[in-house]
Subunit: 349 residues, 2 copies
Amino acid sequence: MSYEYERVAAPRSGLRLHLNENTAGCSPRVLAALQTMTREDAAFYPDYTDAIEACAGWLGVAHDRVLLTNGLDEGILAASVAAMRGSEGERRYEAVVVVPAFDMYAACVDAAGGRVVEVPLGPDFSFDGDAVMAAVTSRTRLVFLTNPNNPTGQAIRRDAILAIADHASHAIVFLDEAYADFAGDTLIGDAALDRLPNIIVGRTFAKAWGLAGLRVGALIGSTETMAPLRRVVPPYSINAYAARALPAALDDRDYYDWYLDQVRTSKGLLYDALRKLSIPFWQSGGNFVLARFGSDAARVLEGAAARQVFLRDRSRDPGCEGCVRIGAGVIDHTEACIAAIREVLCGAP
Amino acid sequence: MSYEYERVAAPRSGLRLHLNENTAGCSPRVLAALQTMTREDAAFYPDYTDAIEACAGWLGVAHDRVLLTNGLDEGILAASVAAMRGSEGERRYEAVVVVPAFDMYAACVDAAGGRVVEVPLGPDFSFDGDAVMAAVTSRTRLVFLTNPNNPTGQAIRRDAILAIADHASHAIVFLDEAYADFAGDTLIGDAALDRLPNIIVGRTFAKAWGLAGLRVGALIGSTETMAPLRRVVPPYSINAYAARALPAALDDRDYYDWYLDQVRTSKGLLYDALRKLSIPFWQSGGNFVLARFGSDAARVLEGAAARQVFLRDRSRDPGCEGCVRIGAGVIDHTEACIAAIREVLCGAP
């Protein structure tokens, strides 16, 4: 079996509610900062001093615990390559992936020559820590956890994460917190990390901070656990524009708070609308909502797209039959999305 | 033994002649194109249609033979990861690296879990194709060749490259043409590639095109050989600004020609100056010149740096005792560099 990331169509016009982007765009301060870039800035290999400092400051960690990556994708790849090199005799090293999950985990593990061991979520997408621990073997070198999960939006309890890291102490536990800004819950700064240095936390500035096009993510972890990952990441992987953008973005906390507020309100609007339509959904910790349209899923996806509202088909994910993931960010965009879904399901208003 | 890329200090002020950057900056058209980027461009996952088309058009190859990479570094990493996964029983796969070479080859092979097999250049940095072929074993999965070489600037003859690719048909031959713009010699478009589909050519837009800060490289190769590398490169590895910059850069052929002309003249000026100073050097196919200052090397490096001219110490590279690599780009910068070197070696004018 081969795992590949499926690149989805991403039209420039219409409402892109299928990639969990911040559809308001980046902070105006970011654009202003990038307008000051010079011809030399574009032509010189970038320096990351300011970007690392801004990131470490925002997350409240020491500089040497931060590794900036070219989007969190590069962090996932670096962990996969570092963890999957070598083998136990003839048998490949393994990575445990809780599914449904972001496609990149399996794609990167597979590309790095490792074996993907899938562990399904429990009933109603609940996290089953015992099942994850049962899947850990002597060959396990990497465990991917996502909190909150994508695409379900469900949380993992702190003690479940710590128990897994304790049980799989010979492996890296990669805790993907791409959507933690929205859930307001993070393991960064948690004292438990001192006794569980095998945990690496992944963050991205693509979502809440609106920098998806600029590609900036970060890994946070102990010096020792991070060392083999640092060797995989090329020395100039972050683009000069991204390096300039990050401090400017982090300097505009008002913009971040505004978007988080929009997301909260948008999720409430979506929950109400889905309830009225009797569509099952899961309350989400992210900037998206997973809803089960069942046999109407294809019709909703196509009908919304015909109205220039792009949603994400997740119906082929394990346990997600008939499910569609709906971006929940800017309120105006959410209202347009709800109108489109109502039109498709109930006819013209 | 562990190989790591040594990040060198890169001051923003002064003359950066130590990283083979285009010190004139990118084309003004690139900056103008980037000034039109919007908040949405920064926040949305990028689309590469235009950038791939521009790159394929410039190189005269079909779109599906091009893989854009986040700097050529990412291409080197992708080849290393794809080629080094797995092993021959207990024995790791091997990559042949002709040294002296760009540090990233060994760093990436090592990070990917492979074994680096170094083959030294012949007398006077001549390329020894027989030695390369003799180093190829059943475990060889990758051979790095650089034409023209960095840091020596020396060329590899076409028939030597083809003979190696023919001999090592079970391996990827990664032909790094980062400096081919300056030498005017490329294997892209060569009919021999049809019978040697194991050759992948690497190019970068960091050097002649002045886009080092934007991180854009490209791999060109057959669909089959490229497939495992494509799986390693994340789907959104090129930043949105880079994707916008590349077509704008390639549209300004006059700027490219101007810089190539500056490089030619600068190399002539450097050759003359080094001859007058009785410093041995090698005529170079790149935008740099390697010169052997011998026991004066450290004094030249430090003295030039004190005058805000930064040169690259290559004295620890195999066969490069006492050698310094000097960027040879913008004529004004070369003249300032020559003045600094003369001052250090001969005293104030």
